[in-house]
């Protein structure tokens, strides 16, 4: 498969690498490679990842005449890499292991503030809901919204609901939540419009740790649930 990388200039100091044309099965690996390679350019000062690609910020004061050349070289390498990854059915196993960490998190469903609403809307019993959630291995598609906030994909379509029409002003830290096609654990107390289905005691983000985030782009996460009174 020969898919070209699409690069869009977003503003005076941002450009966007659109990767949506690539195989979604290897999207995490491709994004991680892209991030790792672009991080080697000293002019690049920040990188954000979303569902479709990678947003790059560069230092407009540090850009020199050689920057464009080096960027072109990197992008050519990326193109080769991506075509190789994309054309294989799966990313090489050693690379998957190297790139990602699996996290198993315990969720206390006694603090599922929206359990009855979710079960009513999905027409599912609580034990069935958590049984289905416990069988999923979620992928970290992107980090954002607030420090350490992971957007996890893999939620079955039968369990997807749009965000709440009226967001909570304060969602407790550690809340396990779903909305749309995403699942997350809120690292800190913040406003939020997702459905809360439990609480995790593990801290996902502590600025005093190195690195501060427990979960990173490309990692996988699965959940076990306790506290459900049958």
């Amino acid at each position: 498969m020969d898919v070209k990388i699409e690069i869009n200039t977003v503003s005076e100091s941002f450009f966007y690498i659109n990767l949506s044309a690539f195989d979604t099965q290897n999207a995490g690996v491709i994004k991680k490679r892209c991030v790792d390679m672009l991080s080697t350019l000293p002019e690049i000062i920040d990188i954000l990842v979303d569902k479709s690609g990678v947003l790059i910020e560069y230092d407009e004061y540090a850009v020199s005449s050689t920057t464009t050349q080096r960027l072109r070289g990197l992008l050519a390498q990326l193109q080769l890499n991506f075509t190789a990854v994309s054309s294989s059915e799966h990313a090489p196993e050693h690379e998957q292991k190297h790139l990602s960490t699996h996290h198993q998190l315990l969720i206390d469903v006694g603090k599922a503030l929206d359990l009855s609403e979710v079960c009513d809307r999905l027409a599912i019993s609580p034990p069935m809901l958590f049984e289905q959630l416990s069988q999923v291995t979620f992928d970290v598609e992107m980090m954002g919204f607030s420090p350490g906030f992971p957007y996890l994909t893999g939620l079955p379509s039968t369990l997807q609901l749009p965000r709440k029409s009226s967001p909570r002003l304060s969602v407790p830290a550690g809340s396990f939540a779903i909305a749309s096609q995403y699942t997350t654990v809120y690292p800190n107390t913040s406003p939020g419009g997702w459905y809360i289905l439990g609480r995790c005691d593990v801290s996902l983000f502590d600025i005093n740790n190195t690195p501060p985030n427990l979960i990173s782009l490309g990692d996988t996460v699965s959940f076990t649930f306790n506290g459900l009174e049958l």
């Binding site: 200039t9 977003v10 503003s11 005076e12 100091s13 941002f14 966007y16 991030v35 991080s39 000062i45 920040d46 990188i47 954000l48 990842v49 979303d50 569902k51 479709s52 990678v54 947003l55 910020e57 407009e60 004061y61 992107m142 980090m143 954002g144 919204f145 607030s146 420090p147 350490g148 906030f149 957007y151 965000r163 749309s180 690292p187 800190n188 913040s190 983000f205 600025i207 005093n208 690195p211 501060p212 985030n213 990173s216 782009l217």
Partner: protein
């Protein structure tokens, strides 16, 4: 007074009055997006950079105070400060100073930085010719209260009345305040924020193509008023005719300057302390020159958006930086 490393400070700046929201800023929060952390940094990049250049310091990791003015402080030893950005009155021991950028304080003297008059800008940048002993988070003095990133040392990052900041001499950067101030007119012609007009250039992008013809007309034809709910995270622009657009299903990574359109129909220009991703449709991006103009405007000011191409925006910004560099080289090498 002990600094975060436990060293006793002999030299201190004591803030007697801080009457407006005031933040330490630098350009050193880098590679934080993958943590979900905002880049933050100075809103008015050129005024920050001018400040660092006049103090002969790096424009990456030098802490500078970004404030709306009305600040009074004193120092225990001789200290030169640099004031850029909005035009404000500077008094030292109640004596008004001549227009300039660099001011040297003697031990025990009190300096007051006033608030800008209407049309004279909004944000003032105060730099110090010293190594300030400030706590950092992610290698930066920037503090975004929403993020609750508190360093272990618990040193307050937010500037408040009564705060004392320790410092040591900065012997690496030599200064010539008389020369810099003698070039005030030359520098002011290039960097004076009161010369800004209220036209904010933007270019289309993201979900702009989903706007109706009528909505595109509304963006360019109406005056917007900067709402009171405006801060370093974003400026909300109140309109007479709210603009509508279909919601988006996915959160997307957003850059500084994006114009989000929430259900209220009043656009929000996202600035340095924005979240990394946004769930509202984006109709375009305010150019760097536009962001700088907004940074020097306050709630109640009216603005007009004008659409330019991204190529024009890049060209204008590069030309601006080029002329800034040329002016600074001429002044600093003379």
């Amino acid at each position: 007074m002990m600094n975060p490393s436990g060293r006793v400070e002999s030299e201190q700046i004591h803030f007697i009055a801080v009457n407006t929201p005031s933040y330490w800023v630098d350009n050193n929060r880098r590679h934080v997006g993958l943590l979900g952390v905002t880049r933050s940094g100075p809103l008015d990049k050129r005024s920050y950079r001018l400040n660092c250049a006049l103090l002969n310091k790096s424009n990456v990791d030098t802490p500078v105070l970004e404030t709306f003015g009305s600040i009074t402080f004193t120092t225990t030893t001789s200290l030169t400060i640099c004031v850029t950005g909005a035009n404000v009155k500077i008094t030292i021991n109640h004596i008004e100073q001549k227009a300039g950028y660099l001011f040297t304080l003697n031990p025990g003297q009190t300096v007051s930085v006033g608030t800008p008059a209407s049309g004279q800008g909004a944000r003032v940048y105060i730099g110090f010719h010293a190594k300030l002993h400030l706590a950092t988070v992610l290698n930066s003095v920037c503090n975004v209260s929403r993020e609750m990133l508190t360093p272990r040392e618990q040193t307050p990052l937010l500037l408040k009345k009564g705060l004392t900041v320790g410092f040591s001499d900065d012997d690496t950067a030599s200064l010539n305040p008389q020369h810099v101030n003698s070039c005030f007119a030359t520098l002011a012609r290039r960097f004076d924020v009161s010369a800004f007009n209220n036209t904010i250039p933007m270019f289309s992008g993201y979900q702009y193509s989903q706007l109706s013809v009528n909505a595109r007309y509304q963006i360019e034809q109406q005056q917007f008023t900067i709402d009171h709910q405006s801060d370093r995270m974003g400026y909300r622009l109140r309109s007479q005719s709210p603009i509508s657009i279909k919601p988006i299903a996915q959160s997307q990574a957003i850059c500084r300057g994006v114009i989000q359109l929430p259900p209220s129909g009043d656009p929000i220009v996202m600035l340095n302390d924005k979240q990394t991703h946004g769930g509202y449709p984006v109709i375009g991006v305010v150019s760097e020159i536009g962001v700088q103009r907004l940074a020097q405007m306050s709630a109640g000011d009216s603005v007009k958006l004008t659409i330019i191409t991204i190529e024009e925006a890049i060209s204008q910004w590069q030309m601006t930086l080029c002329l800034d560099n040329a002016t600074l080289r001429r002044v600093m090498s003379a």
